[in-house]
Amino acid sequence: MPDDIRSLTSALARDPKSLVYVDLAEALRRRGQRQEALQVALQGLTRHPMHADGHDCLARIYADLGDLERARLAWSKALEIAPDHMGSLRGVAFLLFRQGDLAAAESALQKVIARAPWDDGARRALAGVRGGRVGAVAPAPGAAAARAVPAPAAQRPVVFDGFDGASADILLLDQRGLVLSGGLTDAAGKDASELAAAALAGVSGEAARTAEYLALGQWSAIVAEAEHSNLVVAPVGDGALLLVRRDRSMAVGLALRFAERARGIALAWLKGLGA
């Protein structure tokens, strides 16, 4: 069983009432385990019938299974609960496109872009719809991705304003490896946040597993001293992760204190979002 599915299954077993069922169903769907994904999503929705992300996830599973009518119903339900739900708006556009209603698909995609101007996928889909290209609109990528469509660095929320390296050396991401705020640049000054976030998500899962197996309790930080710089990785709240990169000339203890301050700011910001 892949690591992500194992850890999500374990998290759901520990707390069957949690909303992690969506992530598990989505992970199963992405791996092509559609029946298992369907079962997880349906069970989750019996506990959380008003969870828009859950209905969105269920719709994508039905779409994968070719049951477009059930997919439509599930996306409609999600939009009834949350009219601005991005994944569901994209899903509806996908269905309209599949049904050959290009004008309605175009209108649905315009709604997506109006709410998320940085959504390049939706822009490409819109261009495809206007060109009448088959396959222009892909099924919605999922609740997770829809909630956090990668935004260019300049459009990310400013959280670490005033911190040294606020948009080049501090990165806040969620447990799926999607960037929430901050940024990380490579040696050439180009944004490398997405790549770094994807790699860091694996570190978080591994740290949690290590701490659990060794009965160390909740892990609070990983400090990695490396050839060119030092890294501090720390969990923030429930599922987010902070990375701070500091020059090797900064003492490790100081880097830890700096990261702790950034963590406090990130935590307050996430709380403000209700996350």
């Binding site: 694996g202 309790g217 490396a226 050839e227 990785v233």
Partner: protein, 117 residues
């Protein structure tokens, strides 16, 4: 086990708070030599430390930080320390929360560098 490897473990294990130290094959997470207090699960520590080292190394590469020299994972109930060494080995220490990290780090980096020689 070679004498230099054992001596390194002796030094590390004398640091206050260290509950055990070991040399681990980085590739497969198998213990090569160990000096552990009773109750410390050597095989689990080795496997988890090697896996964590791989993930951290991957993340360090992705962030442009370069080759990892030392890793410290802090948790509420203790600390896991590791340092990559030559011959595809890792030196690993498991410690409680009272550990003098600075001293353990020095001993571990010294041991890792000696293994390079």
């Amino acid at each position: 086990m070679s004498e230099p490897l054992q001596r390194a473990l002796d030094r590390i294990s004398r640091v206050r708070g260290v509950r055990g130290s070991m040399w681990v094959a980085a590739e497969d997470g198998i213990p090569v030599a160990q000096l552990l207090m009773e109750g410390v699960k050597g095989k689990a520590v080795a496997a988890l430390a090697a896996s964590l080292a791989r993930k951290v190394s991957g993340a360090a590469a992705a962030t442009g930080a370069g080759r990892v020299r030392f890793v410290q994972m802090e948790a509420a109930g203790g600390t896991l320390l590791l340092a990559p060494a030559a011959q595809d080995l890792l030196i690993v220490a498991l410690a409680d929360s009272r550990v003098n990290v600075g001293l353990a780090r020095l001993e571990m980096i010294r041991a890792a560098e000696a293994a390079l020689a």
